[in-house]
Symmetry: D4
Subunit: 249 residues, 8 copies
């Protein structure tokens, strides 16, 4: 809408050819920031049914409790990621309904049951035991976002047969999250087998020249298999969130 | 060993022409791939309807022509990526039906019309004019894989209003590919607005400390917005392929 | 402005308590995207008197000529950066008024004289002869943006007295751009002497472990002197633009 | 040799108590800093009204107290940056007038009120809660240097509307400091909107491939928006200092 | 499905208690790993006599004890790598036969004596005292895998004569593991002298620009001497394991 | 000084034609390499039957021809690596017996047939067509060093079944060289299957964030499978040479 | 085998008590280091008067005490570098003559006074207070090696006049060690002024993008001034040692 | 202001033609460099007898000729580094006395014979043939600076005996420059043997993970041998210049 159109709209209103309501409607969808963006956010909330998520790292118990209280008030379920054990204990005192998931360092409060809104199953595959915290964060996030989630453990590429024995499970998924450290090769193999969207999550597991997950990250970005996309190192939450969007799109 | 051979082996055992020991030996070393894996590939082809794709870089005209001929024989459509102009000209002489897309450096032959198999629209968003070759490769790949594709140009974050004016278009997409060089911030903004799976494609565009796309790559991996996953630098094909899988899952 | 205020504004217009012009003025500064952004851009243009700039690298002669023609039509002066010699010659044929500055690889057309709008002098200091193209780009950009610009050459830190002999010149500047490759130490020394905003521009000059300007970039970022900020490697235009904003603020 | 000594030397020459040769010798080896540079420093102090600043990290409580005492003696205000809580407590015992700002880990003593010497307002914008310590250090530094400072919180690019709702605030500033971790995209967006000098401060906030702030740093250096200059990772003090110079130039 | 179960299935078919169709179905979905890969693993175990190895880092005492118990049950010897002292003490309480090797941070239980299966001698050469933990891990691993192992200490390249005095020892080895930090030059010199396969193990020993072993790693990868291959930084176990394979091949 | 000369010197002493002092002087400064090291080299030559190898890159045609002539004179076979086509043509004119292997850019002259001295088979596995030049260099080097060599092509991890169908071939090798670019995952899978020494050769094949082979290199160094050691990027010769030593040890 | 033993062997041959064959055997395997290299070491010790130095980091109190005892026995002075306070206390109990230098974390025992053997003065220049431990290690090392050493503090490039006031001191030195963190620019300025060999020591002082001293290291390596050579990050000992060699050569 | 002008000013004061105030004003702003620093430069020139050196890279033939003419005018010898062959030919036409050294890409004009001013011999050691251009640049620079220079070729660490045979040569040098690519280990070995100042020059020779000389650079910086200092990659001139200063100090 350019100035002339705006002028013409205002003239029409002044001259009575349109009513205030009609002008209001046309203008209401215009300035997105004060009017619109809250709407956009509301729309998205309604459309996806996604609960609010709190990134717990670097926040005090007091801050976390404040945000939780506000969210519960609006009737939301609550997911807090990256909460260390002691902090979780403190929060549980204030909110006894909270459940702490120590494997994924997440804390959840579900005032209303999570409704399955995803179309298919999200499968979370992990290579080694040390990848489990990240894999669990991804799985819990996806579940919390309303998806049917399954996990497959300990299927690293050095013992490829363990993975090959589960190809049916791979085929049954709508989206696959693959969590791996060290050389980060598992997403390539899974994507080659499955023909489904694969989200690679490099982990900081490894020693020496793994350089805090850089090696796995580069491995996944350079995957020779089609269909692999990648999130940040150790970012299980990000993978679970992206998978939820894919499972809905 | 295909299913028929397996059946025949079992019949021989049942009929007594071979002994349990011999059958055991032959089954013990059963080359699982001869049974299962060729099938897997066929299944995948049938299931997805994905045509074969040839990565043209580093292949000679002769090699490319050979693969094209083989693919056409099986009735496939053909997509060749990363073909420089001269090479494309030579290939076109041998296959006059080939179309060269100079903007994306791709060459296609469609013996049967591409059938739309994707559920929704794939939107390819790009930041600057120099991101266009990569964006075009992504768009052409997605189209060739049977998707409805739309492109949105020149909406970098430094002029954020150009993007904001297109939010409806963002909402209308099932999957969004965002191609950007320099600081690689566009996927974050798009994902914040759209609530759809966003595939970030960092490009090697930029100078100085862009370090061949590393800067954009890191920017996208560290996105503060949910739903962003990333492919390799300049990998438009990879993004188009992954988006196609997401649009089907 | 919330919906109620908007409604009330529209009612006032309809009821005749305000005129179209007044409503227009209040609305004009409202919806920034369709209405507003052209305005914002116009406002900024009017406020700063900044002409449009074309980044020439990676654009064809045809593209550049098209944008130039459009800009001239609106009465603008034109600056094209990163234009190689041959391209510049071609453009000059189409626009004989164009002047090519081979030292900075820039091309300018001034249909109306550049008006000095900057409050003080911008000084561009460079360390070695090989830093000159970048320094010249910075100087020409700042001049074109309406600033009084002076250049100081060949005052590297290995011969510190050459710089010390010019401290008066340093004091006389409002903003100082310092262009240096190799170890990138010059901005620290200048900032220590001058007490003025210093913009460091690392250049890719050097060999061996200069790593394409990374060494100079890190040197400037880690400056032990107060008041140094840094732009991208070889980004003379960016420094000239930022200095222009500082000289006006 | 201070100016009085110099004057006295010249008088001796004029009065004949020393010869030209002797004066020449004494002047030839004239330690320029005793004359010129202390003066320069004094001049700068007077010109800018900048108080002395102590970088607290790596200094013992005793060392800090010694410098504070010396500065107070000369009538200066005192700012100590990077002081951890315990150290601050100890220092406060010795100087009860000291105020500790735990959010920015700074300690200040103002024996005379800070006089506003900056021409306009310095706005400090930050993306996330974890960027707050750095943003606070920048704001406190700028305030201490005699500027009117305002802060804008929690306006990351993933929720771009929160920033867009504050464009008036952006326009009202003379210099804008933008503090952001993760992908570091906020300075680009702010600079695109505001048309003011923007100082980007990358923070080490983030995980995985943020590599201690490298990702945000590269993002800001590669900004596609004009007017962005960058300081070191987490260097809030440096940004506040540079902004003070810009607000005066 | 283990070989006995398979045999039993085939007998049932031969004896007519099941039909070809049923046998086919059960074999068609034969989870190849249950048949083949356990076998492969068993085969490999029998062929190489390699005991199982537990990577101790990041595993709890409880987890380690569980795996040890299972391995002992099958009659295996046990090697646990990367076990810190306290953890080792706890495990020793549960398994008094365990021996803790504090120099290599390894823990071993040998229920049956290690049988020498390697053809020649494996020599472990180390440069400095701080390389000893890694060298010891390599030596212990190789010994545990059934090799004759010898160690040569403190023969860094800065005192080349110490190494030259031991050339006979170098010639006597079948495989040489060379452990070195800092510039990582020792494998080059050893390989130049010995004409045997040399496995370089870079260590994270050093300070400053050793960058956690990167410097030594690059040094070894760029060795100008033939016959040097490299494993990950500090990966003594990997070197010992690879040397064992080479000593058998 | 060769053994004969030494013997002659000792005889002269015994026979009294020289004195102890003179013998002492000659022995004291005995250039140990003339005695020992040339011998060592000769010994090694005899022991391994390794012909001399010329690294062709960066050498002129004249230099290469000179070294070839000298080697042929001593009765050696000759291998020149990294020879571009034109250079090879020139050399072939001077030495018509030379054979140029364009796939591996190597040139060989065999005056006496290569004798198989390796105990087992060396298998060279490669992932993609673009890895072929490096794989060929490795294969040719190993063959030239007197080994039975076999090659396995195009078995990347994205189509894992192609590799699984060849497990027998993997088991039949004494040493396996695995050449792969992109994510460099193939050596992990091969080592997991084969239980043989695996030498990983990362290639610079790939685009974007492969960073000239760094990604593949890191992938191989961080292999989760036992028995993998690594050589430099694209260093097929180094792998072939190391494999030859392993196949003999 | 020392020269006397060699002489005796030759006499035996001449006198007929041994045969040529036996002499040949003993000489052929002549362990050259026993003859030459121990001598070399002794020669070097005598020539340079350098005492032995113990790198204390990573050594236990027991190990350090053992080496000290051995060195004292031979009449040497002792320098131990990188000794933390507690360890030093323990060592001092065993050797009451030991002096601990807490600023440089060094411990020395001088049984005989250090004799000045250096020809000129070694000057150690440092930029900031946090560079002092490294500078002190360099100074103490050089003093211990028999040099006249002077230190110049707190002359960073941001306040260049402090350095310029000391040019006479710079001219008076034979070798200059310059210790600096952050941007590492000081060696360039010093070398430009002094015309003497300058050894740059980058320190890990700094924050943000100093990357543990990498920034200062690159700055020094890329110095635009002639005569600057560089040692490892924080390597004060190495600089002191190299300067001692230069001051003697 | 040169000494004569200063003298004249003082005379005027003494003679009463100017007043103290005026003299004070003129002296207060005394541009110290005009007095002192030009002198310093002259002094340095006289003291060291160093001719001027032109860095030829990036300079046009015209620029080089201009500087040469100016230098010859003052009676200097001339050294131009980094001159490619064609450029050298052109310069030789203008200055027939010029000699082009193609191995080091340097051009020299000696109007007066180079006088030996260095105290001892500078030895330039290089590892491989591809290090020769850098080694030659170092040797030529040192010779031109008035030193006795000797070169030692092809003594890489993989054939350590070639170096050991030349220990006498090593001992005979006052300063040793060691030029090496690949793993850069040679300086460590040389410094361990020689007990002389060793300047390491990493070269960009190598392939794969040599990363343009980074590998050799890190190797040298992390040298475990005392007395090694390092210059930039391929910086033969810098090494020759630093060695000249050391040979004089």
């Amino acid at each position: 809408m350019n100035p002339d159109e705006l002028k013409s709209l205002l003239h029409s209103l002044k001259e009575g050819t349109i009513e205030v309501g009609e002008a209001l409607d046309r203008l209401r969808s215009l300035p997105f920031e004060d009017l619109g963006h809250t709407n956009v956010d509301h729309h998205r909330g309604l459309r996806h049914g996604f609960p609010e998520v709190i990134f717990g790292a670097g926040k005090s118990v007091g801050q976390i409790e404040g945000i939780i209280a506000a969210l519960l008030d609006k009737g939301n379920n609550v997911l807090v990621t990256r909460v260390e054990g002691e902090k979780a204990l403190a929060v549980k005192k204030a909110f006894p309904a909270a459940i702490y998931h120590s494997d994924s360092r997440c804390l959840t409060i579900e005032q209303r049951p999570v409704k399955i809104v995803g179309k298919g199953k999200i499968l979370v595959v992990s290579a080694g035991t040390s990848d489990l915290p990240v894999a669990s964060e991804a799985a819990l996030t996806a579940r919390f976002m309303g998806n049917d989630v399954e996990q497959l453990f300990d299927v690293g590429v050095a013992g490829i047969h363990r993975l090959l024995a589960r190809t049916k499970l791979l085929y049954s998924a709508a989206v696959i999250i693959v969590v791996a450290g060290m050389e980060g090769a598992l997403p390539s193999v899974v994507a080659g087998l499955a023909g489904k969207p694969v989200i690679g999550v490099p982990t900081s597991v490894g020693y020496g020249a793994s350089f805090g997950g850089l090696s796995a990250l580069l491995g996944m970005l350079n995957s020779c298999a089609g269909g692999v996309t990648v999130v940040n190192i150790d970012n299980g939450f990000g993978a679970g969130y992206a998978a939820s969007l894919m499972n809905r799109s």
